[in-house]
Amino acid sequence: MNHQRSPAPEPTTRPLQRIPMRRSPLRIARTLLVSQYALMVEFRAEIVLWALSGVMPLLMYAVWSGAPAGAAAGVNPQQFARYFLAALVARQFTVVWVIYAFEEDNLLGRLSPLLLQPLPLAWRYWAAHLAEQATRLPLVAAMVLLFVAAVPAAAPPLDPMRLLLALLALHLGFCLNFLMQYAITMLCFWNERVSALERLQAIPQLFLSGLLAPLELFPEPLRAVALHTPFPAIIYLPAQLAAGGPIAIGPAFLNLFGWLALLLPLNLLLWRAGVRRYAALGA
């Protein structure tokens, strides 16, 4: 809430007091998050349906728990249950849709007023994603409780250290996914329809992130390759941390930070070049 009003012009001889121009980043963040949350709550029915469409890991659990191949690879049913429950949660909190929001804003001409604001656009979309995740929270909690009630073995082991790491990995995985999609989104400045390109990124992500099977089931050369792509950081790393499964934590985080370090400057570069191009188009 903004309690600070701009001072009304007073009929005194006092020189007009200037509004303090320094805005605290904390206040900007709070305002952004609160307003985006209010927006998202309006769409809660849609978000429920959307969350339901993310039940893929549960279906994969159903197939894997009965498949003889899982037992032959040395993964027991409890590990599958824990892994896929964690993967379900990871999926719900790493989903990114910035490209569709941006494409629509661009096509409908809503972008120009937004670009005038003294805040890089990425923060607005990022806040919208966080707000949407907050709207999902009760729903995901209900899904987890239901699943644990049906399959008690799925309850994650209570290892506070690993759960904390999992939370950290979850948020960083979301940021990585966001930066990946935002880099493609920036190409919107050159071509209005880039969501087709996003599909080409989403396909390897679906198969290599660990959503359909934990990566230790992959055959060897492919597993090593997959672990060097950014995709496992989005599902496999947080899920395996929470599920207490076997994972080389150090190298996985190193890979995650490496990709973040690559994508962050790339995004800045594309944003700067894109905005300059947008100005040229509008002029």
Binding site: W50, P68, L217
Partner: protein, 269 residues
């Protein structure tokens, strides 16, 4: 234009015009063809890879061999392609038309409105996926050594058509509910992820889910029942059940559409 033709001829001619217009419109985005071909191949490769994980140690999945499971995956890929060719361009549009009120203009046209909203658009970009799915079915059939006779092929084609009809009805029923709920686009997303269930033999799921996907949400009839027929091991019971279900589903979609139109109050009222 005063076209005095009546009956099916008029519908055939309209369909021809609809599709040539939408083809011309889609040809503006030729780069899409390359992207769609690459995406279809990548999706199929990923699907094959995930399926192969279940056979890494030479086991069977729900009693199905690798080659037999390929037939199921092929049918599922074909249906995905069919969805992007006809269902998404039309029934996705329907949701938008209800939102912005242009459904009014459709209802005024002198042609059956369900025909119009279901078949007005046609997108060529799902064709590569349909072709790949069809190819995979053939590969699976040849490699599994199944030799269905002419009767078997006929039954399989009939069941395949029933599967397509059931999928269309499910989509249509969901899209038609947008007349009441306006925003149901995400509901079709839920349906899409449910159809993903049909990538694997239904017998690979636990019994409770098997029952759910056969009796409640008829996913089994989309891919599994036709695949069994192609492999020459279907029974008259399943043929009859599939045909009956397809008929009931189509009738339901028709009834629901009529009921929805009675409740339709245009965008501003």
């Amino acid at each position: 234009m005063m076209d005095r033709r009546r009956g099916l001829g008029r519908y055939g001619l309209s369909l021809l015009r609809f599709w040539s217009v939408s083809l011309a419109a889609q040809m503006e985005y030729q780069l899409n063809l390359i992207i769609e071909v690459v995406a279809s191949i990548a999706t199929l490769a990923g699907g094959l890879f995930t399926l192969s994980l279940f056979y890494a140690h030479g086991q069977r999945l729900g009693g199905w061999s690798w080659e037999e499971a390929l037939v199921v995956l092929g049918l599922s890929t074909f249906l995905d392609g069919f969805s992007s060719t006809l269902l998404r361009p039309n029934l996705g549009e329907l949701v938008k038309q209800v939102q912005n009120g242009s459904l009014d203009f459709v209802l005024l046209k002198p042609i059956d409105s369900q025909f119009w909203v279901s078949l007005r658009n046609w997108s060529p970009w799902g064709m590569p996926e349909m072709a790949l799915g069809f190819g995979l079915v053939l590969v699976g059939l040849v490699r599994s050594g199944a030799r269905p006779g002419p009767g078997g092929v006929l039954a399989a084609l009939l069941l395949w058509a029933c599967g397509v009809a059931i999928l269309y009805s499910l989509w249509f029923i969901l899209a038609a509910t947008s007349i009441w709920f306006v925003k149901v686009w995400n509901a079709t997303e839920v349906l899409r992820s449910l159809v993903g269930v049909g990538r694997y033999p239904i017998s690979a799921y636990p019994p409770a889910l098997r029952l759910l996907f056969t009796a409640v949400v008829p996913i089994a009839f989309l891919t599994n029942v036709p695949a069994e027929a192609l492999l020459g091991r279907t029974t008259p019971f399943w043929c009859a059940a599939s045909a009956g279900l397809a008929l009931v589903a189509l009738i339901c979609s028709r009834l629901l559409w009529r009921m929805a139109l009675r409740h339709y109050t245009s965008a501003s009222s």
